[in-house]
């Protein structure tokens, strides 16, 4: 993985010291909140509902064991003993005191991490395929290019105050695990007719209140031009993107309003000016970056087939279920890619305790060359596990609560922090996530339902990617009361699509029953081996709508009397805590 050089180290250390002085001035009453806010945002520090939140960047999700140990230490020493992995492959700490943040940044710098550009209207963390470097369907490892983009975009003086935030995702594989269609720039490594490898460049994708799929701007961009072309796009956006209306400020709106062809012309015009500048990448430049991502020293092992088949066919049902769902074929014989599910029933999606982080770091050292990856679906991945050691690893993961066999299944749901933490939220998402997880606690049933993505956002900003969930749930506020819209048919992969709203918004207590109806309908209608999204695309929304809301015009809401599928009712229902029940009592205790 990329290691900081002296310049990188000095930059992050100096930034931590600079922010330390800014915090001192804020606490000493020398800076107002209005003056301080842009400074803290540049260092990933938000003010949330109950506390500050610090978002730490994890470039393209790649972490070393030493870095994870540091994150564990930070959560233990300065926070409340846990961290939350996000859909942008970052980590958030929910409870830091302001005076501790500079010290946290110093500690992060010690392990080559920071929170720079993890917030604000700038180029954010570049995200990528969590299986990068090891995926069987990969044309080329995207991480050297992610790192090039990271270095180009960090502290880029022209792009510190863009009209809005800007997100770039890169994939090198056929199957898109990086959701490139919903990024401001989505890059896919492709081959042209001459057999050269370059990039297909998409632009103007995004979710939020106006979901738009990115359009192809350039079908084949030579690698040498990656940075100059991105710079040209950013320049056009920086100049013409709307600054008068926050809701129309993302590049997706500019591309729509300008039209793809005209936008491409503007980019080409700009590009012509800088294409042959110092931004041009030589093969030597690219090789220098590739050297940071060289494959580890793999052993020469027999194919994984026997080890994996033994797991799948073995008597240990829980192990075979886990191997089936959480283990993916590696490009190197004898190795496997292992997903560590952060979707256990006893934890909010994406949360990990400091003990778990320490244990995962130890396991990464023991089983996966001391590295791991954060996925945009809020899980962790060990990229390089010897297949013959899968049973041992599974046992160890189970021991720390990270062996849930649900990767890609209904309970492997994405949920943003929602109204339990987020200042912008309209409704909670974690209570809905917990209730759905409790309802689908039976591993056999989850396995039988098969692959389905269920994504929950606490507001229209869509951090929980509800638009691209096969099942999406969006929290909305109806006169102060939390409601939820159900959407079906979204997908974030190479045939990306946005979900369609199924019907009227539901109250919190109706949501589990609705999901139950949706999945029950799917199970009844699917053909042999058909996944949820394929069934939905084949049969359309109608049967699902009828199952949830009744016949045309009835709008009766989901049935809440289903005992047959084990769904619980009443105030004791897990997760669906009425908001008033959380009343602080007694006040003085805190």
């Amino acid at each position: 993985m990329y290691r900081y050089d002296d310049m990188d180290l000095r930059a992050v250390t100096e930034r931590a010291a600079q922010f330390g002085e800014q915090v001192r001035r804020r606490l000493a009453g020398e800076l107002t909140e209005a003056e301080f806010k842009p400074l803290r945002l540049q260092n990933g520090l938000y003010m949330q509902l109950h506390a500050y939140m610090l978002r730490v960047a994890i470039p393209y999700g790649l972490l070393s064991a030493a870095q994870l140990r540091k994150l564990a230490h930070i959560s233990r020493k300065y926070d409340r003993g846990y961290g939350h992995f996000t859909t942008r492959q970052n980590i958030q700490f929910n409870w830091p005191d302001l005076e501790d943040v500079p010290r946290i940044l110093e500690e992060l710098a010690e392990v080559e991490m920071h929170a720079i550009q993890s917030s604000g209207n700038c180029i954010r963390n570049t995200t990528s395929d969590p299986f990068a470097g090891v995926a069987k369907d990969e044309l080329e490892d995207p991480r050297p290019y992610c790192e090039l983009i990271r270095q180009w975009s960090t502290f880029h003086p022209e792009f510190a105050f863009l009209p809005r935030k800007f997100k770039i995702a890169v994939t090198g594989a056929k199957h898109d695990r990086a959701a490139i269609a919903v990024h401001d720039i989505g890059l896919a490594l492709v081959t042209n007719d001459a057999g050269e490898v370059g990039f297909e460049v998409r632009v103007g994708g995004g979710q939020g209140r106006t979901p738009i799929l990115a359009e192809v701007l350039c079908e084949f961009l030579p690698k040498a031009d990656l940075l100059s072309y991105c710079e040209a796009i950013l320049r056009v956006y920086n100049r013409l993107g709307r600054r008068d209306n926050k809701y129309k400020a993302r590049i997706k709106i500019l591309v729509q309003e300008t039209g793809r062809a005209e936008f491409a012309r503007l980019v080409d015009e700009e590009w012509a000016l800088i294409r042959d500048s110092g931004l041009r990448l030589t093969p030597a430049d690219i090789d220098r970056f590739k050297a940071h991502f060289e494959a580890p020293s793999y052993l020469e092992l027999a194919s994984s087939d026997t080890a994996v088949s033994a797991a799948l066919l073995g008597k240990d049902r829980s192990f075979s279920r886990w191997a089936m769902a959480n283990v993916t074929e590696h490009r190197v014989p004898g190795y496997s890619i292992v997903a560590l599910s952060l979707k256990a029933p006893d934890r909010p999606p994406g949360d990990v305790t400091h003990q778990q982080m320490d244990s995962v770091a130890d396991l990464a050292d023991e089983f996966s060359f001391g590295r791991l990856v954060v996925t945009h679906r809020q899980n962790l991945v060990f990229s390089d596990v010897e297949s013959r050691r899968l049973p041992e690893l599974f046992g160890r993961l189970e021991g720390i609560g990270l062996g849930t066999p649900n990767f890609g299944k209904v309970t492997d749901l994405i949920a943003c922090p929602g109204l339990d933490y987020c200042n912008l939220a309209s409704a909670r998402s974690l209570n809905i996530a917990e209730a759905i997880t409790a309802r689908f606690a039976d591993a056999e049933e989850v396995y039988d339902i098969g692959d389905v993505s269920l994504n929950i956002s606490g507001c229209i900003n869509a951090c929980g990617h509800h638009h691209v969930g096969n099942i999406g749930i969006l929290g909305i506020d109806k006169e102060g009361v939390e409601h939820y819209q159900i959407m079906l048919g979204g997908n974030h992969t190479e045939d990306a699509s946005f979900g369609e709203i199924l019907g009227r918004a539901l109250e919190a207590h109706e949501v589990v029953a609705a999901i139950d109806e949706v999945l029950g309908t799917f199970v009844a209608l699917r053909t042999e081996g058909e996944s949820f999204i394929d069934t939905y695309r084949r049969v359309g929304a109608k049967p699902f709508k009828e199952a949830v809301y009744g016949g045309a015009g009835k709008q009766r809401g989901p049935r809440e009397d289903r005992e047959d599928r084990g769904h619980q009712e009443g105030p004791g229902r897990p997760g669906l805590v009425p908001v008033a029940a959380g009343r602080r009592e007694p006040c003085a205790a805190e």
Binding site: D420, D477, G582, R584
Partner: protein, 96 residues
Amino acid sequence: MQRVFIVTANRTADGRAVYLAADRTFSECLDDAHWAPDEAGQEPQLLWARAQEFDVCDPYVMSVRRSREGLAPTSAREHIRAAGPRWIAERFGYAI
């Protein structure tokens, strides 16, 4: 049950939700909040709170319900803000 108005903000040091009390201190307890029967009645308190910008961030007036049990927020957001994510802490064994 009466709808009344109070002033709230987040504390600069740690971001906690606080409420402006009658003695012009900021309390974490909603019931300590000074209330006025209408929004305009909180204007002087709001101005005062804004002048305390080194201690608190972004004060605003919010409506609450007043009853014999005390003050209660009227929206899910303010309920949760007043309570802290208590159910999560209790359910998942996190520190409060």
